[in-house]
């Protein structure tokens, strides 16, 4: 299976999009080598703005550029961009519906070695509650480019959550559409709803469950806001039990969003697999860290099976 980091896809995309669209301006806060905006900076130095390590300024400078007619892409690590600059994102960019796309990297546990201070496990929640904000979590590098294409042709603010590590590319039989949840696999016993890199892990988990005679639906929710409630409710009717999987706190993220939507229309038991209301920690590589929080394919399968037994015994 070929592997690529979503942040690398972002850098590649910026370089291409920058050639076609001269209104694109990229702003970074002293992390351009890590966020891969340096690829754009090298190609278009005049349209690359570094604000230094100052995330509040990152957002307001971006806001000003957008007021001046620019299509702005603002990048930093997810924890700093959404946490430190939340006021600017809410009160300026989102309130005034400015054309600023926040593309944050190193989200979730993917900033493994750096530890809790650098691991954003709350960013989806922080962005999701803000009016006018769109929240996109691509499942792989290819979807990152598709989502960026879509956002370039959309007005107003958006938050895109990317990761540091190389991740598997998923075979897809759909054209990316903003706001649409994609059913990657149809099953009858359980629905596994995932976002980001947990989509590929959930597909693997579904394979494991299949060997045990359990038939799973697997959904890719790349757009957490606006959420595709229709597709979610249909699948709730079909299987009667939902497990959400995300590399994020179990509070306020994908699990929260799905619960809010499904509870209103077709309430079924929803179990949340994610980071259980705790901070992250350092690990010298990514996989052991995912394992420590129960996020490997084996663990997702095992936990899902446990939930099925709990409900259907």
């Amino acid at each position: 299976m070929s592997m690529k980091a979503t942040r690398d896809a972002y850098g590649d995309w910026l370089k291409e999009a920058g050639k076609l669209n001269k209104d694109i301006v990229v702003v970074d806060a002293d992390l351009s080598e890590s966020t891969k905006t340096n690829v754009f900076a090298k190609e278009f130095p005049d349209r690359f703005i570094d604000v230094g390590s100052a995330e509040q300024n990152l957002i307001d400078i971006s806001a000003g550029l957008a007021l001046g007619g620019k299509k702005v892409f603002a990048s930093s690590f997810a924890i700093f961009e959404t946490g430190r600059a939340w006021d600017q994102i809410r009160n300026v960019v989102s309130h005034d519906e400015l054309n600023v796309t926040l593309v944050a990297t190193h989200a979730g546990l993917s900033c493994a070695a750096d530890g809790a201070s650098h691991q954003a496990l709350e960013d989806i929640a922080l962005m999701r509650v803000i009016p006018n904000m769109k929240v996109i979590v691509p499942c792989d590098a290819d979807e990152t480019k598709n989502a960026l294409d879509a956002l370039l042709n959309t007005q107003g603010p958006a938050y895109m959550r990317l990761r540091r590590e190389k991740e598997p590319l998923i075979e897809k039989k759909y054209n990316f559409k903003l706001g649409k949840a994609e059913t990657l696999r149809e099953g009858s016993d359980i629905t596994i709803i995932a976002t980001g890199m947990m989509v590929s892990y959930s597909l693997k988990a579904a394979d494991i469950l299949k060997e045990k005679g359990i038939s799973s639906s697997v959904l890719n929710v790349h757009t957490i806001k606006p959420l595709d409630s229709n597709t979610l409710c249909k699948t709730a009717k079909n299987t009667g039990i939902i497990v959400t999987v995300e590399e994020h706190s179990i509070f306020g993220g994908l699990g929260g969003a799905v619960s809010e939507a499904v509870s209103e229309t077709y309430p079924v038991p929803i179990f949340k697999i994610g980071v259980n209301d705790t901070f992250g920690q350092s690990a010298r590589s990514f996989e052991p860290l995912l394992k420590a929080y129960g996020l490997t394919p084996d663990q997702i399968a095992e936990t899902s099976e446990k939930y099925i037994k709990k409900i259907k015994r």
């Binding site: 301006v25 005049d46 349209r47 703005i49 604000v51 230094g52 100052a54 509040q56 300024n57 307001d60 400078i61 971006s62 806001a63 000003g64 550029l65 957008a66 007021l67 001046g68 007619g69 620019k70 006021d87 600017q88 009160n91 300026v92 309130h95 005034d96 519906e97």
Partner: protein, 274 residues
């Protein structure tokens, strides 16, 4: 609207707008008279004598931009915008009412002439810097003006912008600091000392001009001088008096965010109309 007013005309108009400010805040039952009255002379000079703008066409692409970073002085901005003709003066009495185009703090989406929403302190100067940079990238000459408060300089973000603007040589940016010396909890120097304030801005590589913020001739000269600088952003530190123009409000911190009573309003109007 008539442009390029003389100091005498500006003085006359300022009294009218001060009355408008006090009437709308009294009617609303809440709002910020102190900082509106300290800033109104600066706004008047900008909108009548300095800025390129067209009230009949608020989206005119060639216009200069004004950003009110100290958003709580919204009544001052509203009074000037209405006087210029951006919207009908009858709206002033709807300040802070549900459904009004005049929100408690400036709202870009509701009020013609408001360039960006504000209210959360510290954001305006960064936004103004980004906007100025966009003009610079497009090789346009639009000038950007941004009014910040002195209490607002407690916000770290002000100093992030203070570093940014000279670094990117934003000479088409002029900040005006409404140095009225008071913030909500008391004198700025007692709450969180700012001095030596002009030296701080100089050290951050700004072109610093110090001026009496109620002296029209001096303000006009300061704005003209600021345009001569071709490499640095300018900050005009305007010494002002909070509550300026109303005897019982001048220098009184309680009138930062307290409306005048009906009786107090009558007295103020008498003083201003005298």
């Amino acid at each position: 609207m008539k442009r390029n007013l003389s100091p005498v005309e500006l003085s006359k108009l300022s009294k009218k707008l001060r009355c408008d400010i006090l009437c709308m805040i009294c009617e609303a039952g809440s709002g910020h008279p102190g900082g509106s009255l300290s800033a109104i002379d600066i706004l008047l000079v900008l909108y009548y004598n300095i800025m390129k703008h067209d009230p009949q066409n608020p989206a005119w692409i060639e216009r200069d931009r004004f950003i009110l970073s100290k958003g709580h002085a919204a009544p001052a901005l509203y009074s000037v915008l209405a006087e210029c003709g951006y919207f009908d003066k009858s709206h002033l009495s709807t300040l802070r009412n549900i459904g009004s185009i005049l929100q408690g703090h400036p709202d870009k989406k509701l009020t013609p002439g408001v360039e960006v929403s504000s209210g959360s302190l510290g954001n305006g100067l960064s936004i103004a810097s980004g906007l100025t940079l966009s003009f610079k990238l497009d090789k346009k000459e639009n000038h950007v003006f941004c009014l910040i408060g002195d209490g607002e300089c407690d916000e770290g973000l002000i100093w992030e912008a203070a570093m940014f603007a000279p670094h990117y040589r934003l000479n088409n940016l002029t900040a005006i600091l409404d140095r009225n010396g008071l913030q909500i909890d008391g004198k700025t120097e007692a709450v969180m000392g700012l001095e030596p304030l002009a030296d701080k801005w100089r050290a951050f590589n700004w072109n610093v001009i110090e001026v009496n913020g109620h002296d029209y001739s001096a303000l006009l000269k300061a704005f003209e001088d600021s345009k001569k600088n071709t490499t640095k952003p300018t900050i005009i530190i305007a010494s002002t008096i909070k509550g300026r123009g109303v005897s019982y409000m001048e220098g009184i911190k309680e009138f930062h965010g307290k409306p005048p009573s009906k009786i107090e309003l009558e007295q103020a109007l008498k003083e201003l109309e005298a």
